[in-house]
Symmetry: C2
Subunit: 314 residues, 2 copies
């Protein structure tokens, strides 16, 4: 079993590649729910849905989020009713949120609903929310204290992030199976997601970081930073504004207490020694997933290295 | 002020006509909520929405319910998730239900939400749900005990109705302003709606029938039955299966304790004497609202008769 810690689009692309290398039934995905939110009375799990839609082959690949070919008629009507609609929700996408919200109201857990949705969408990987409990990320920014989606969508990541607040995740518990999926994995991979906004919330849930430190499986992370820049999103800016430095090495630093292998982009070969000195292996590979084949190649390179070369820790 | 008791499509057509005769600001509408239901976790008020959409000029005039030009992408996606989707909900229509449901969850009353929705849709008539409390109609039928929409939509009104159960309406209270709207009206009109499924639930809410008996205003009803048949829907069949006889006179009988004026279709001139013997005036008029102008003509005929000829009761 391979267990992957995942945020949204970057993780989704990598996971599609991974399913071309490893049978989907052998993949467990622990997804960030720190950016879950309520809009129009509905429970939205953006990272879960992004990963699910990509794996189901129904994602809008251009936009990254939502369903391919979706329409926005309901959202337009909500706007005419005076609702704030900066968080875009497609008509077909809404079915997912209606379905999830109704089942949560009926007493199902987020894990159970996620499993049922994945089955309905034909996703064969096992998708686990990091927690069944509320674990929303808040951000202290130059525009004040913001809920994640206010920062990310409404204000388009324009404010500087001064502090990421995972206090709700810290009070949550891992969803059933999450800790076991790390402890019992053959290998664990941290997807090339934003280490602060997507991976840190997962690590903040009690027991998860400890499981990554304790597991006998090799733990790898793929850098979401190439040559000091994020391919997409504000990762580099956030790392800088938090005083961490916007280098792939900064990402490795954040994971150094549990990482065996760090996958650096070939452009970052100059960082290899610095990262190795943190006590982990380094793998240089092309990490830009501009095509499905590039994603598959990256996944194959990482999996082969993990299964052939990485030694379980003592 | 003119107060109208209303069901769905028949009432909506009449009300559009009425707004061509009486300033909308002078019209109060008491709407049946006996067929309100929950689908996909949303609170749906079908009669309220039908009346609101027709008055807003955005209704689908062919279908009668829902919004003109709406799409059904969300519903199709819900069907793919395995949901029952026999109750059709358009994408733009969904915005109304999301909006209503969210506000009800936040503690607003159905009256408040209805008023806000009407304002958002630019409806100038005052729309009052018959009650802010649950008041769902159940039907004992040859297919067993059914919630209203199961009978009406899912089973397409095919079972015979053996008994209409308004026990929830009987335990409800009229929404704020409902009783006053009847007592203080210049005239009250019962729209040409199904007397059993649409008007009886309103009359079952404690205080409303009494207000109709007590008001000094003349009370008129327009027959939804012409020559023993309903133009649309199962009104005639239900009247028969309840042993009431499918004649316009049967409808007058149901309202005889509070009615001053019964509007019979010109085709039913032969019933004039029978109805008059019940102690009410009779007005013969063309009641088929096949065009907007026919609706306006009918409204004008009724309003003129009420204001010129009908005498307030002692």
């Amino acid at each position: 079993m391979i267990t992957v810690l995942a945020g949204g689009i970057g993780a989704a692309k990598f996971l599609v590649g991974l399913t071309g290398v490893v049978s989907p039934g052998r993949i467990t995905i622990i997804v960030n729910t720190g950016d879950d939110a309520r809009f129009h009375g509905l429970h939205i799990s953006p990272d879960t849905d992004t990963v699910m839609y990509w794996l189901a082959g129904v994602a809008d690949l251009e936009r990254g989020w939502g369903l391919a070919g979706d329409t926005f008629h309901c959202l337009e009507a909500l706007a005419r009713l005076g609702e704030e609609t900066w968080f875009q929700l497609g008509d077909r996408d809404l079915a997912t949120h209606l379905w999830r919200t109704q089942r949560l109201q009926q007493g199902a857990t987020l894990s159970e609903v996620t499993e049922q949705l994945c089955r309905a969408y034909g996703v064969q990987c096992r998708l686990l929310p990091m927690s069944d409990m509320p674990a929303g990320t808040r951000l202290q920014t130059t525009a004040g204290s913001l809920a994640f989606q206010e920062y990310f969508i409404k204000l388009r990541q324009e404010p500087e992030v001064l502090e990421a607040d995972f206090s709700e995740a810290v009070r949550a518990q891992p969803a059933p199976g999450v800790v076991e999926a790390i402890l019992e994995a053959e290998a664990v991979i941290i997807a090339p997601s934003n280490p602060i906004l997507s991976i840190s919330p997962i690590l903040a849930v009690p027991g998860i970081r400890g499981a990554l430190q304790a597991t006998a499986a090799p733990v790898a992370a793929i850098s979401p930073i190439i040559a000091g820049r994020a391919l997409k999103g504000p990762t580099d800016r956030i790392l800088r504004s938090l005083g961490l430095g916007a280098s792939a090495a900064s990402v490795a630093t954040l994971y150094r207490d549990f990482l065996n292998l760090f996958v650096l982009d070939v452009e970052d070969a100059s960082l290899e020694d610095d990262v190795r000195k943190m006590g982990m292996e380094v793998l240089l590979a092309p990490t830009i997933m501009s095509t499905a084949e590039a994603s598959r190649q990256l996944a194959q390179t990482v999996v082969e290295h993990l299964t052939l070369h990485s030694k379980p820790r003592a």
